[in-house]
Symmetry: C2
Subunit: 144 residues, 2 copies
DNA sequence: TTTATTTAAGATAAAATTGTCTTAAATAAA
DNA sequence: TTTATTTAAGACAATTTTATCTTAAATAAA
């Protein structure tokens, strides 16, 4: 469904957010230990999310990554997905046609419309805050 | 959403089916001209679908690919997708956890459940016949 | 100011996916 | 039987994605 890069990105953000709720900045090494992902690759992905403003970072000793607490409920999953994978999962044709619309649809066009709309709605309405709270309360996990 | 291999496979099957409705066997060269895909790669994919019984083939002059007319409504899109991409799109964890279930869910587990169920239902209930009829009647297209 | 720590950035490498090419096998027609 | 045509199968190559490695920049503490 998503690329590995997006999977790592989502998990990293959820972990960072869960720690930011405790006023803790986290280093990339701590992040990957908690989400079971390759460190350098994850660092690059989180770095891209810093550039886009989803995460904040401080370099040097006592540095690390964190997320502004009051922004956690404004940042939605769709922001992370589109920042890494782009929007082709929502807008591209399910059968790979360069163009595909209601006028000249691919054979599966109308079959996909609802499912994609539902996926988009879900990602649009799911905040980092919500997922980080689920993790912190033990309702969900990031590795096993 | 799907791999290129699955995209090509679905389009090839729809085209072959649309021609089988006219009692026409089609060669791989004709298929790729109508779905705009690389010929050797497509041949390999369609070959895999032959092995699995979704398509029939005859080698040699006057040979080609065809689909049993009375099976077209029994073959569903899910059969093509799982034959090529496997079932990870339905069963795997959305965030890539090796295991993820109601007992120990990833943070997005319940968010994904409905969307994946809908996707599966759609692929389960969509037959080759239905899509090939849409193509033949001009309601849908396979390239542009 | 020096050193240690950490993120930033970009080059390089490995793996997976996508795509091509060659040869073999089947089969129909001449 | 020979030839031409077509699918079958597998080796090979290119591209994309995933992952690693190296160096630079920032910054805090000693």
């Amino acid at each position: 469904m998503f690329s590995k890069a997006t999977e790592y990105g989502i998990k990293a953000i959820i972990y960072i957010a869960s720690q930011s709720m405790l006023e803790r900045r986290v280093k990339i090494g701590e992040v990957v230990e908690h989400i079971d992902s390759p460190v350098a690759f994850t660092a690059k992905i989180v770095g891209a999310l810093v550039k886009v403003g989803i995460v904040q970072s401080i370099t040097g000793p006592y540095g690390g990554f964190y997320i502004d607490r009051h922004r956690m409920d404004q940042i939605k999953m769709i922001d992370i997905v589109t920042a890494i994978d782009g929007d082709s999962i929502f807008n591209g044709c399910g059968l790979g046609l360069k163009e595909c619309d209601d006028e000249q649809p691919c054979p599966m066009h109308y079959k996909f419309v609802q499912i994609r709309a539902d996926l988009k709605d879900m990602l649009n309405s799911t905040s980092i805050l919500e997922l980080a709270e689920g993790l912190k309360s033990g309702k969900s996990i990031l590795m096993r």
